[in-house]
Amino acid sequence: MELFFQQVLNGLTLGSIYGLVALGLTLVYGILHVPNFAHGALYMVGAYVSYITMVDFGVNYWVAMLLAAVAVAVLAVLCERLVFNPLRDAPPIHDKIAAIGIMLFLEALVQMQWGAEFRRMPTPYTEILDIAGMTIPAQRVLIIAGAFSLMAVLHLFLKKTMTGSTIVAMAQNREGAFLVGIDANRVAMMTFAISGALAAVGATLFAPINLVYPAMGHLLIMKAFVIIILGGMGSIPGAIVGGLIIGFAEAFGGFYISTDYKDIIAFALLVVILSIKPTGLFSKGVH
C-alpha cells in the first residue's frame, strides 16, 4: 500500500510538470496554430539559466527561477517576432521546420557553451518529509504545490484580466478577434512570453530531482505533444488532465510493468488512442 502511494506521489510530480509544459505548448497552439517543436529547448534553456545563476553567481533559488522565467519569456518573444510572425501565411510545413530549426540551434548553442555533461541542480529544499508514514522529498512537494498554484494563477489571469480574456478570445476565434479590434501581434507576443515563462519555471522546479543537460527537453516536448493531443490541441484543462494521465501512466507503468520501457508508455498510448479516434480524446470534432 505504501508503495502504491509512493507511485501516486510520483505520478502527481510527473503529471504536474508535464501539465505545466503542455500548458505553454497548448496556449501557443491555440493562438497561432503553430506546433512549437522548440518548446522543449526553451524548457532546457530555462533550466540552464537557473543552474548558471545559482551555481556560478550564487543567486537564491527563487530569484534564479524568476530570472529564468524572464529570460526564457524574452527568448520566446524573440522567436515569435523573428520567426513565427514572418511565417504566419506560409504553408503549414514551414513553421514546423522553422520551429525545429530553433530547437536545433538552441541545443547546439547550449552544448557548445556548457558541454554535454549531465549536471545536478542544487535546491535549498533537500529535507525528507515524513507524512503519515510515507517518506516524501520536500522538492516533490514543492513541485506539486508550485505547479498547481501556477496553473491556478494562470487560470485567474485568463479569466479575470483583460489581457487574459483577449488571449482566450483569440484562441477561440482568430478572425472574430480581428474584427473586434484585438491587436493580434500583442496577443501573440504575450502568449509566447507566458508559454516560455511556464517552461522555465517548470524546468527549475523539476531539474533538482532530475538532471540538467542539452537534450533534456527532447523527451519532455514529445510527451507534451502527446498530452495536448490527448487533451485536445488548444485546450487548457485538457493539458492539465492530459498531463496527469501521462504522469500516472508512467509512474504506475514504470513500477508495475517495466522501467526500461516506461518512456514508451506515453507514445504507445498516443498510437492506440489516435488509431481509435484520429482527432484526439477530448476534441469536439468540428472540422
Binding site: 497552439y29 496554430h33 506546433p35 517543436f37 520567426v83 514572418p86 511565417l87 506560409a90 504553408p91 503549414p92 510545413i93 514551414h94 513553421d95 514546423k96 521546420i97 522553422a98 525545429i100 530549426g101 530553433i102 530547437m103 536545433l104 540551434f105 538552441l106 541545443e107 547546439a108 548553442l109 552544448q111 557548445m112 527532447h218 523527451l219 514529445m222 505533444f225 502527446v226 493531443i229 490541441m233 526500461d260 520501457y261 518512456d263 514508451i264 507514445f267 504507445a268 498516443l270 498510437v271 489516435l274 488509431s275 484520429p278 484526439g280
Partner: protein
C-alpha cells in the same frame, strides 16, 4: 538569346544528365584520396533516403518526422538477418526493403488519417518509439552495443565491395536508379495526384482523388527508399547502433531537402551533396553543425522556401513565359503586316524537366 538563357536551357537538357553521370563516374579518378570517395559514397546513400522523404514531404506535403527511424529499420533488418541469422547480403537487402515497406504501410494506415500537425507530431513519436525499441530490445537488436561485423554487399567473386571505390559505384548505381524512379513518379499522373494533395486535402478530394490510398502509397514509397538506403548504409559502415534512429538524422535530411529545393527532382541530390561537403570542409563543425543548420533552416523557410533548384525553376519558368508572350506579340504584329510568315517555334516545353 543571351548566355544566361543558354546556360539555363542547357541545365534542363538530357545532355546535362549525361554530364552529371560522367562526372560521377570519373570522380574516383580525380579524388585526391580515398576518404573523399568514401564521403561521396556516403552522401549518395543519404541522398537515396532524402529522395524518399521528397516523395512524402515534397510531393505529397506530409511532414514525416519518422524518416530517420525507417532508415534505421532498414539498417537493422539487414544487420540482424546477416549477423544473427546468417543470411547472405542480397536476400537480406531485399528483406530490408520489404520490412521498410510493410512497417511503412502499417504506420501509414494509422498516421495518415491525421492531418498536418497531428501527422508531424505522430510521426515524431513513431520515430522515437523506433529509437527506444532499438535501444532497449536487447534480444533482437543487441541494445546500446549495436551490431558489429555486418558483411559488405557480396560482389559474387567479381568485385569486392569492402573496398571503397567499388562500393562508391554500387551506391551511385542505386542512387541513379532511385532518382530515375522518383522522376518517373514526379512527372506522371501519380506525381500530379500527390501534388494535388500537397495543395490541399479538400481540393484533391473534390477532384475525385482517394486521399488515403494515395497518401499511403506515397508513404510506403518513402519508407521503402529510407530502408533501402539504411540497408546500404549498414553494408557500407558495417557497424550500426541505436544512434542511427536518432531524430537528428531526420532533421539533417530535412535540411538537405530544403537547401536543394523541396518537391523538385534534382534538389535532394544537390542539397545532400552541398551540405555533406560543407560539413566535411568545416570539420570542427561536425558536433556543433546545428548552430549553423538551425538558423539556416529558419532563414530558408522564411526567405527561400523553394531552395536552390526550386528558385531556379521559378526563375526559368518566368523567363519562358515572358519569352512566349513576347513571341506571341511579335507574331501578332507580323501577321498583321504580312500574312505569309511561318510562326516561330513555341516555347511550350515549360519547366518540368529539372
Amino acid at each position: 538569346m543571351n548566355a544566361l538563357t543558354k546556360i539555363s536551357n542547357f541545365l534542363m537538357t538530357p545532355a546535362m544528365k549525361m554530364v552529371m553521370i560522367v562526372a560521377a563516374l570519373l570522380f574516383p579518378f580525380v579524388a585526391s584520396n580515398e576518404y573523399q570517395i568514401y564521403v561521396m559514397a556516403l552522401a549518395f546513400v543519404w541522398a537515396i533516403a532524402v529522395y524518399g522523404m521528397n516523395i512524402i514531404t515534397g510531393l505529397c506535403g506530409q511532414l514525416n518526422l519518422a524518416h530517420g527511424g525507417f532508415f534505421a529499420i532498414g539498417a537493422y533488418t539487414l544487420a540482424i538477418l546477416t549477423v544473427d541469422h546468417g543470411w547472405a547480403f542480397w536476400p537480406a537487402f531485399i528483406a530490408a526493403g520489404a520490412v521498410g515497406a510493410l512497417l511503412g504501410f502499417l504506420v501509414g494506415v494509422i498516421s495518415l488519417r491525421l492531418k498536418e500537425h497531428y501527422f508531424a507530431i505522430f510521426t515524431l513519436c513513431v520515430g522515437f518509439i523506433i529509437y527506444l525499441l532499438l535501444d532497449k530490445w536487447e534480444e533482437l537488436t543487441h541494445g546500446a552495443l549495436g551490431i558489429i561485423n555486418i558483411p559488405a554487399p557480396s560482389g559474387f567473386g567479381l568485385v569486392d565491395f569492402t573496398e571503397t571505390t567499388p562500393f562508391y559505384y554500387l551506391a551511385l548505381a542505386f542512387m541513379v536508379l532511385s532518382i530515375w524512379l522518383a522522376s518517373r513518379i514526379a512527372h506522371s499522373l501519380l506525381g500530379r495526384t500527390f501534388l494535388a494533395i500537397r495543395i490541399s486535402d479538400d481540393l484533391a478530394a473534390s477532384l475525385g482523388i482517394n486521399l488515403m490510398r494515395n497518401k499511403v502509397l506515397a508513404f510506403v514509397l518513402s519508407t521503402t527508399y529510407a530502408s533501402v538506403a539504411g540497408a546500404l548504409y549498414a553494408g557500407m559502415v558495417r557497424f550500426i547502433g541505436p544512434a542511427e534512429a536518432e531524430v537528428t538524422h531526420t532533421f539533417d535530411m530535412i535540411t538537405y531537402l530544403l537547401v536543394g529545393g523541396i518537391g523538385t527532382l534534382m534538389g535532394p541530390l544537390l542539397g545532400t551533396l552541398a551540405i555533406t561537403w560543407l560539413t566535411q570542409s568545416l570539420q570542427f563543425l561536425e558536433e556543433y553543425r546545428m548552430i549553423v543548420f538551425g538558423p539556416m533552416l529558419v532563414v530558408l523557410v522564411i526567405f527561400f522556401p523553394k531552395g536552390v533548384v526550386g528558385s531556379f525553376l521559378a526563375w526559368r519558368g518566368r523567363r519562358l513565359a515572358a519569352a512566349h508572350d513576347a513571341n506571341t506579340a511579335k507574331q501578332a504584329a507580323v501577321s498583321k503586316t504580312s500574312t505569309d510568315k511561318t510562326p516561330a517555334t513555341s516555347t511550350q516545353e515549360a519547366g518540368n524537366h529539372a
